[in-house]
Amino acid sequence: MELKQSLGLIAPEILLSIASLVLLLVSAWAGDKASRAISVVACFVLGACFFIVAPTVCAGVAGPDVVAFNGLFTADAFSGFAKLLIFAATGAALVMAPKFFERTNSMMPEFPVLILLAALGMCLMVSATDLMTLYIGLELNSLASYVLAAFLRNDERSAEAGIKYFVLGALASGILLFGMSLTYGFTGSTDFGTVRAALTGDMSTGAMFAVVFVLAGLAFKISAVPFHMWTPDVYEGSPTPVTAFFATAPKVAAVSLLMRVSLDAFGMQADAWRQIVLFVALASIVVGALGAIGQSNIKRLMAFSSINNVGFILIGLVTGTVQGASAMLVYLAIYIAMTAGSFLAIIMMKDEAGAPVEKISDIAGLSRTKPALALCLAMMMFSLAGIPPLFGFWGKFVVFQAAVEANLVALAAIGIAASVIGAFYYLKIVKVMYFDEPADVVKGQSDWAHWALLIISTAFISPLGYLLTTWLGGIADKAAATLFLVAA
């Protein structure tokens, strides 16, 4: 009976794994020509998972009823919220991919299969309530990501990105695993609840090491400073749809994981990790903003932009309150839309032969040659910069509001000052597109599916998005509350 209940709770994960296994078999027999059909099926599978998870998020389920497999896994509203974002972002990456790879004849049917398996890994990450589930989910996602980064195997940059990501990712996994083994040694359990109970009161030096190592390993996965070195190179070298995937879905998964680990497992030692997260948040904001200024490649620029945004998200974690956690979820939802939209616009910038255009100087004067595309990209940039009428402003607003209410006024002030620096490079792209002489490089036509997705994400981040604030905030509040309910 208990097994049956547990299996019911992991229905989306079961669907994802069965679908990926079946599609893997199909791809083995049907070969490369089935790639597009498999991508479409994979999109529908993600959609189905979305609709399985959505009701639990709206209902705000929590508590022992949604814990499966003796406390290894929870399907609470918090994990559900993260899963919805993951499915949406993964679906966007799947829509972007076929057209991009087909030009060089490098689309393989394993691509959607690996993406589905990566999504499965991320579902395990956000639902983990045990260090072992956490690690297996993380590795499932990371291994698939290494392969995806090197997917254009005839392209030197892609291979380089794969190697770099793999070597540094393995190192981070080692650090994380070391922290986890220390956690087990000093608490006697891998279960978050038990770890929390064991870490009350004064913490020994060894347990402190455990917290630091676990946080360092996770900081690598969200590419927060000082563990961000790999990000620009990997983002630049990977095929653009894969970069879009890296910048969205795994970020959601790793940030949610970090939230659960720090608020739940290490929840009684908030003072110990708060200063670490505080430093990481501020350093990410500043390095992300300053590093982006000199970049000439738009994918590299987006890498620094993602580092910068992770810093803003972590400000919510520093507060350690329900409001802060809810603000993080809202920010993540908006961030996904902005980043996926920006990468869609980047993918749609192609030269005459259909080859991708990545240099910022090549998009000069885009407003005259491709006004619609330029308008969408400009709105994304304004939104990422956090300029008021657009929805990106709302994300930053709720995070800073949470920080001010938790008496972290200085932190909020530094964050706002740094976001002004960040605005510089976003606005530079708008300036290049609207006020420079046309470079006349971007000429290629785009797919209707790309246009549809771009228009949806632009509509989401446009002032229309504000119609959603009450609803989005309500759901995020409920989801964040379940995180604290489990912890209490």
């Binding site: 992991i10 794994s17 497999f69 394993e110 690996l114 297996i136 989910g137 590795e139 499932l140 060894g206």
Partner: protein, 206 residues
């Protein structure tokens, strides 16, 4: 009595074959000595009642790792004489590292036995079943409580396999001179011959 004799035989063999691994001139012999060391270590594990680890040593280390070593040694042309050339030069550094390691181990074990480390008490999930072999205890945990993780770990391995194939497998063209009878039979005269009426002064386009 027989227990003690077996222990000393296994222990002496492990140390002897371990020494021979690093002194043997021929790298293939080194790997063979290594395999012998693994077998004897497995025997030691059986003596202390850890049959599962004994089996792991034989299956994983002898069956997979040592054979892999053997493949690498035989397939790659490594000049071992050259690799040994710097032995005397790097010997002091090696000794220094070994000394640091030993002192760290003494410190760590000393601190632990002096009771200055407050380790947590295990939550009891992994307590062995009463009166059962440890293989059965591990199996009960792996396929019972941790079934979910076991299956997920299987998916991780699947991703690793798919990834390796995706990144390295290349479609080979048909072998030259290979006769495709099916294709020959399917071919019709219309596919191979064309009637054209070329204009004077212009070539024909095929």
């Amino acid at each position: 009595m027989i227990h003690t004799i077996a222990f000393y035989i296994f222990a002496a063999m492990v140390i002897a074959s371990g020494a021979l691994v690093i002194t043997a001139r021929n790298p293939v012999h080194s790997v063979l000595w290594l395999i012998l060391a693994f077998f004897n270590a497995a025997g030691l594990m059986v003596l202390v009642g850890a049959e599962f680890i004994a089996m792991l040593l034989v299956i994983v280390y002898v069956g997979a790792v040592a054979v892999l070593f053997l493949f690498v040694v035989m397939m790659l042309e490594i000049d071992f004489a050259e690799m040994r050339a710097g032995f005397v030069k790097y010997f002091p550094l090696g000794v220094l590292l070994a000394l640091i390691l030993v002192s760290e181990m003494i410190l760590g074990i000393g601190a632990y036995s002096a009771g200055s480390m407050h380790l947590g008490t295990a939550d009891g999930v992994g307590t062995p079943l009463m009166g059962e072999s440890n293989i059965r205890s591990i199996g009960a945990l792996l396929y019972g409580r941790y079934l979910f993780l076991f299956e997920s770990a299987g998916l991780v391995l699947l991703v690793a396999m798919v990834g390796a194939i995706v990144l390295t497998h290349r479609e080979r063209g048909t072998v030259r001179g290979h006769q495709n009878i099916n294709k020959q039979v399917r071919r019709r005269p219309g596919d191979a011959t064309v009637n054209t009426r070329p204009e004077v002064g212009k070539g024909i386009e095929l």
